[in-house]
């Protein structure tokens, strides 16, 4: 078998050295009656690379490829053009096939890249420190809530109705078991966010207020008042960012007073991949660093005084602190973090700003074009590259009808909030630099037809 270097001759020679009469001798601790006699049933025998490649290719062709059609989906995952050099570099064996950098003398590559990643994330979010990645945005948000709980010793968090519903369900699921209590609500199809409700509901039991920016409907609002209200009550402000590209154009949550900023990094370097693997970003204030989950790379020197990097503050982590750790996370999403840091290094501030303004300009154009369709209303006043339309018809069937016309025309709120009647006419549309003029024409035509 192509992945197995041992020959039968090697095997018998090695058994001889070991002093075992047969391979099963080595499995003697496994109850004999349970040991499978031959190859396991059901699974075919080994297959050639060509056969497997053909099978997988056949499956892949059953999917509609985002890049092949007019594409306008967002809601937590965004299609951006990724420079070819990013994937080329993360496929270098030294990055792809290394482990968590436990032996820093021969892991400076990963460690320095982690350190650079942490700095980029902290600056993008407007925070002092960031960790070296979490699984994704949704799990990062839950970890932030638990962290706020540890810091404030309070158990109630107030979650904005603008937070991605999947993120909210993850938090609700966990809260059931940790006896945290979460105040949540459904979003409304209005230009206003629920900032006021949030501020009103902050109390002395509140550990944190959690807001998404831009939110699930693409709305953006100044977080400063919420931060001030939270701080006044001794609570923290947790901001969630699902589209990091936005921060090339609009204020960072850190600048507006957020204490913990978490989010999804997929937009930069990672790609759509049907939802995973993605990369969770996590940043906060220096004073909270010892309460932070996840790996951290830190600067130090070696025996010769040369600068080098190591994993640090491990006393927060499960492999040292075990049940007292700040989190149980071990393997996180470093390779995606490397893709993120490479793509962001290629962009730089200059490229990120250009990319962001191009996204926004393109989104404004699409909003104008679509709201010109009779009966179609724009929910948002302000947005970055994503906005919500109120259609004269239910959005969910409309989306399926557009698929028939070869257009992937946004995410219906019906998909995200099944059964929430007031939202059924809502359609969330993301527009990035990958959208061409022809794509916009096709979308406009398709939407016209399905709403009439």
């Amino acid at each position: 078998m192509r992945y197995l270097p041992l020959s039968d001759a090697d095997r018998s020679e090695m058994l001889r050295v070991i002093g075992a009469s047969s391979i099963d001798d080595l499995f003697r601790d496994v109850p004999a009656e349970l040991r499978l006699k031959g190859p396991i049933e059901g699974l075919p025998l080994h297959a050639s690379e060509m056969a497997v490649e053909r099978h997988m290719t056949a499956l892949s062709r059953k999917n509609m490829v985002a890049g092949d059609v007019p594409f306008f989906l967002g809601c937590g995952a965004y299609k951006h053009h990724i420079p070819a050099s990013v994937d080329h570099l993360i496929q270098r064996g030294e990055l792809l096939t290394s482990y968590t950098p436990y032996q820093p003398e021969i892991a400076q590559g990963t460690l320095q890249m982690m350190f650079e990643f942490q700095t980029q994330v902290a600056r993008l979010y407007g925070c002092e420190v960031a960790n070296a990645s979490m699984y994704d945005g949704s799990t990062a948000m839950w970890e932030a809530i638990v962290m706020a709980h540890r810091i404030t010793r309070r158990k109630t968090s107030v979650i904005s109705s603008g937070v991605h519903p999947h993120y909210v369900s993850v938090a609700k699921t966990m809260a059931k078991f940790t006896e945290d209590s979460l105040e949540t609500a459904l979003p409304e199809l209005s230009a206003e966010t629920d900032a006021e409700r949030l501020i009103a509901s902050i109390g002395e039991e509140t550990s944190a207020v959690v807001v998404q920016y831009p939110d699930i409907l693409g709305r953006i609002t100044d977080l400063t008042p919420i931060a001030e209200a939270a701080h006044a009550a001794g609570a923290l402000l947790i901001a969630v960012v699902t589209e990091p590209v936005a921060l090339g154009l609009i204020k960072s949550p850190g600048e507006m007073g957020a204490d913990i900023v978490v989010g999804e990094g997929q937009s930069i370097g990672v790609g759509l991949q049907f939802g995973g693997p993605y990369v969770g970003l996590f940043a906060t204030r220096e004073k909270y660093v010892r309460q932070m989950p996840g790996r951290l790379a830190g600067e130090t020197v070696d025996a010769e005084g040369k600068r080098g990097f190591v994993l640090t503050l491990s006393t927060r982590e499960q492999h040292i602190r075990r049940e007292k750790a700040t989190s149980n996370i071990c393997t996180s999403s470093v390779l995606c973090a490397l893709a993120f840091t490479i793509h962001l290094a290629l962009l730089g501030q200059k490229g990120l700003r250009q990319l962001a303004s191009l996204n926004h300009a393109r989104a404004c154009e699409v909003a104008d074009r679509l709201t010109a369709i009779p009966g179609v209303e724009l929910v948002n006043d302000a947005f970055f590259n994503e906005f919500t339309l109120k259609l004269p018809v239910e959005a969910r069937p409309a989306v399926h009808a557009m698929v028939e016309k070869g257009v992937l025309g946004g995410v219906s709120l019906g998909r995200l909030y099944p059964g929430a009647d007031p939202l059924q006419h809502g359609l969330v549309i993301a527009v990035t630099e990958t959208v061409s003029e022809e794509d916009i024409d096709a979308f406009e035509t398709a939407l016209k037809e399905v709403v009439r």
Binding site: M1, R2, Y3, L4, D10, R11, M14, A20, F27, R28, D29, R35, I40, L43, V52, K62, M64, V65, A66, A77, L95, Y99, P101, Y102, E105, A107, G109, R123, Y135, H164, K172, F177, L247, L249, L272, Q273, G275, P277, A297, G298, V301, D302, A303, Q318, R321, E323, N328, V334, T341, A345, L346, L347, G348, K350, D368, H400, R415, G419, S436, E437
Partner: protein, 554 residues
């Protein structure tokens, strides 16, 4: 950028060999590389944009090119979409004014920066990576290729289901084979890594107990368990208690039985355990645990040793996570991404999380989410992640399973165990192998630092292996063995490779016993000597700060 980007200064202690120093600090192909923030500039970018139209004037000054200028033949693809006159007008006054401080690199600089950095890493592709408990096996390149097929890599998780039938089929097929290989009843595919899978498994257990109104508080975990086990139990709201081990490095069955009671929700067992030993009493353990009304969670990180040889379902296990990034060869990537599907017994399957990919008689696939959950999977304990799990790992793991097939996977387990025992027996005369007398090990061999001369310890042996061209084994884990050295070669190592490793470790072990002080200086050939971890933790520097003009000058 300074000419010598490393911290090295002529005044710094010259290293032992009194090497001739270079002006650049480079040593031929071993190149020093400054930080991104020392070589990049906020005015530089490695990404071009097509020319501005009215309203995009905003970034006109950033000099997008004029790809649309008259060209014959006109490259069709080279026309950017036009944009509206109102660009930048709808940000609610939230424009980001201040500099973000993100340096950019041109593509040549970026390729070089990351190529040079990568060359400072060790990896499976370079040589033996016997990190015990981590199953660092070869990552097949076919897997990388299929994961990048546009039909998998360029598909949005919220596309209408009729447009992602192939993606759902991948999840369903992989789930099908994982159940076949484990003999379990159900599987939760969405957990993002092993620890996340542990959490998923414990939440299933907790949901099952609560469903019967049973509020148990305690989870029993062996001392030898991986740190994620107790951490997860605590994260899930349980109190953690130890299970003692016996002299043979296995769970002490009687002690366990004695402790079991109405307050115990679950027992977390790692099998094969972290000493690389199979728990021969596994069935008795399961029976005892079930007898006490508790559940058996199995940490499946070591499944590689038994895949295709025995089915965990036949051992009475209720829940087990599988690290696709270990047993099923998805690349570890310097610390993830991983994927930790959890297989479940009939008792726990009803409580598994949403969403999941179901196959219907008509050959179609459906992603069962909250919407249909109520009808099709009413007892689900909830949702673990946004979207549907690690698709990019699923495609790789499925390609791996189909490539090996039933015969290949059985061989995987056998060869991984054979390689580990070969190392165990080849070194037993120079290194103390605490459990060697109790019989063969499974996929990893464990040694202690017993017999090393004073002042020398496991770390010195590990660092000396670096100079010999190997990644060290896992050090000081599990805690139950003094100065533990946990060696997991995996099945993808050749005998020649093992022989070279054995010869190197043998000579180092002899030096350690002979008290060769020079071990303390190892490594001497790596990009860096031993690093000061205490300093790093004492005053943490976690992000780059631009030097003050004074320093910058130098």
């Amino acid at each position: 950028m300074t000419v010598n980007p490393s911290g090295w200064r002529p005044t710094a202690p010259a290293n032992e060999q009194g090497e001739a120093q270079t002006v650049t600090g480079n040593r031929a192909l071993m190149l020093e590389e400054p930080l991104l923030f020392e070589i990049g500039s906020t005015e530089q970018t490695g990404v071009d944009f097509d020319p501005p139209r009215d309203g995009e004037g905003d970034h006109a000054k950033h000099g997008g090119g004029g790809a649309v200028q008259g060209s014959d033949p006109p490259p069709s693809g080279l026309r950017p979409a036009t944009s509206p006159s109102r660009g930048g007008a709808r940000l609610g006054g939230l424009e980001r004014a201040r500099s973000i401080g993100l340096p950019g690199l041109s593509e040549p600089e970026a390729v070089r920066h990351y190529t040079r950095l990568s060359r400072q890493n060790y990896a499976i592709d370079l040589g033996l990576f016997p990190l015990g408990s981590c199953t660092m096996k070869h990552n097949p390149r076919l897997n990388e290729k299929v994961a990048r097929l546009p039909g998998f890599a360029d598909v949005h998780p919220l596309q209408p289901q009729e447009t992602v039938q192939g993606a759902l089929q991948v999840i369903n097929e992989l789930a099908f084979w994982l159940l076949d290989l484990t003999g379990m009843y159900g599987v939760a595919m969405s957990p993002k890594a092993g620890a996340h899978g542990e959490l998923c498994g414990l939440l299933c257990i907790r949901a099952a107990l609560e469903a019967r109104g049973d509020k148990r508080q305690v989870v029993l975990v062996p001392e030898s368990a991986h740190g994620t086990n107790p951490a997860t139990a605590a994260f899930a709201g349980y109190r953690v208690e130890d299970i003692p081990a016996n002299a043979a490095g296995r769970v002490d069955l009687n002690a366990l039985k004695a402790r079991l009671g109405p307050d115990v929700a679950a027992v977390m067992i790692t099998n094969p355990n972290t000493c690389g030993l199979f728990e021969p009493d596994m069935i008795a353990i399961s029976e005892a645990v079930h007898g006490a009304g508790a559940f058996v969670y199995c940490d499946g990180a070591n499944f590689n040793a038994i895949v295709g040889k025995v089915r965990p379902g036949d051992l009475g296990i209720d829940a087990m996570h599988i690290n696709l990034h270990k047993t099923f060869s998805t690349p570890h990537g310097g610390g993830g991404p991983g994927s930790g599907p959890v297989v479940l017994s009939e008792a726990l399957a009803p409580y598994g999380p949403l969403p999941y990919a179901a196959k219907y008689p008509d050959g179609t696939y459906k992603l069962v989410e909250e919407e249909d959950g109520a009808d099709e999977h009413p007892d689900a304990f909830g949702r673990m992640v946004a979207f549907h799990g690690q698709m990019g790992m699923f495609t790789r793991a499925l390609a791996y399973i189909l490539s090996h097939g039933a015969d290949g996977l059985k061989q995987v387990a056998e060869d991984s165990v054979l390689n580990a025992n070969y190392i165990l027996r080849s070194l037993a005369d120079v290194l103390d192998a605490p459990f060697a007398k109790s019989g063969p090990c499974m996929h990893e061999a464990i040694f202690s630092d017993r017999g090393f001369a004073g002042g020398l310890s496991t770390i010195d042996v590990a660092k000396a292996l670096i100079d010999e061209g190997f990644h060290p084994m896992t050090m000081y884990f599990p805690l139950v063995v003094h100065g533990a050295m946990l060696v997991e070669p995996t099945e993808t190592e050749s005998k020649a490779g093992l022989d070279q490793f054995i010869a190197a470790l043998r000579s180092i072990a002899e030096r350690a016993k002979a008290g060769d002080e020079s071990l303390g200086a190892a490594p001497i050939y790596a990009p860096r000597r031993r690093l000061d971890e205490t300093l790093a933790a004492r005053k943490p520097i976690l992000t780059y700060r631009e030097p003050q003009p004074a320093e910058a000058a130098e």
